[in-house]
Amino acid sequence: MPLVFVILSALLIASAVGVILFRNPIHSALCLVVNLVGVACVFAALEAHFLAVVQVIVYAGAIMVLVVFVLMLLNSKTEERTLSGVIQLVLSGIIGGCLVSVVGPFIIEQWPIVAREEPPISGSVEALGKVLYTDYIFPFETAGFLVMAALVAAAMLAKTKGGDPNHPRISEGKNDGTIQAGGEQ
């Protein structure tokens, strides 16, 4: 087992645990940045260079900036540790442990370590681009639409209040849940 992998996985797991355990969201976010960069390294180690670059640009560059920005904007407070939170942690930890212990052996069994002669495929820009713009052109375009739609949706959601009086804030539209059926007979 290459040393790179060992180091990377230790880093990744540590930072992931950090994300979920730090009580201050900012700290979590910083750990996530580390984790994302680690994933980029993993991509590089797997010779998917293009993805490694995209990973850094999209995640670390774009998404994380957005997250941190929102965190700052909303001034999220440090979470308090509660008993129910601990119980939940333990419970979900047990369930997660189950998952790993069940699926893990299966994975090892499924893809045993083999030696192979042919060179591994190259995740180079050309190769990827060729596949992406030929075989996957429609999904690609669809993804484009998706992103656009997401942008529009985000804009709509984040629109400031006081615009349209016909669309009151959710909390104001109190509804007692009964259907007003017919007139009194």
């Binding site: 992931a16 979920i20 994933v39 993993v42 997250v67 495929i121």
Partner: protein
């Protein structure tokens, strides 16, 4: 002679995914929960890349590409939702948003 360690990468991705899920369950803060989602997506990405290599074609890597697109879209919408939530309820904690409960 190359050795293929993809099983370990998939195992790593499983562990990361599980951590992400646990985080999503444990954390109240919607933004952190959101970050945990990113963790899970990334874990899946690792598995994709590793197995793509193992299988010997680029389909897995393409999938990663699309996952990233989805993640980006999700980030945009998700954070917008968090902002809307904050604007309406003055909180970013998902546990406070329970008006639709019966």
């Amino acid at each position: 002679m190359n050795y293929d360690y993809s099983a370990y990468y998939v195992l790593l991705s499983l562990v990361l995914f599980t951590i992400g899920t646990v985080g999503f369950i444990v954390r109240k803060n919607a933004i952190v929960a959101f970050m945990c989602l990113e963790l899970m997506l990334n874990a899946a990405n690792i598995a994709f890349v590793a197995l793509s290599r193992r299988v010997g074609n680029l389909d897995g890597e393409i999938a990663v590409f699309f996952v990233m697109a989805v993640a980006a879209a999700e980030a945009a919408v998700g954070l917008a939702i968090v902002i809307a939530l904050f604007r309406n309820l003055e909180t970013t904690e998902s546990s406070d948003a329970m008006e639709l409960r019966l």
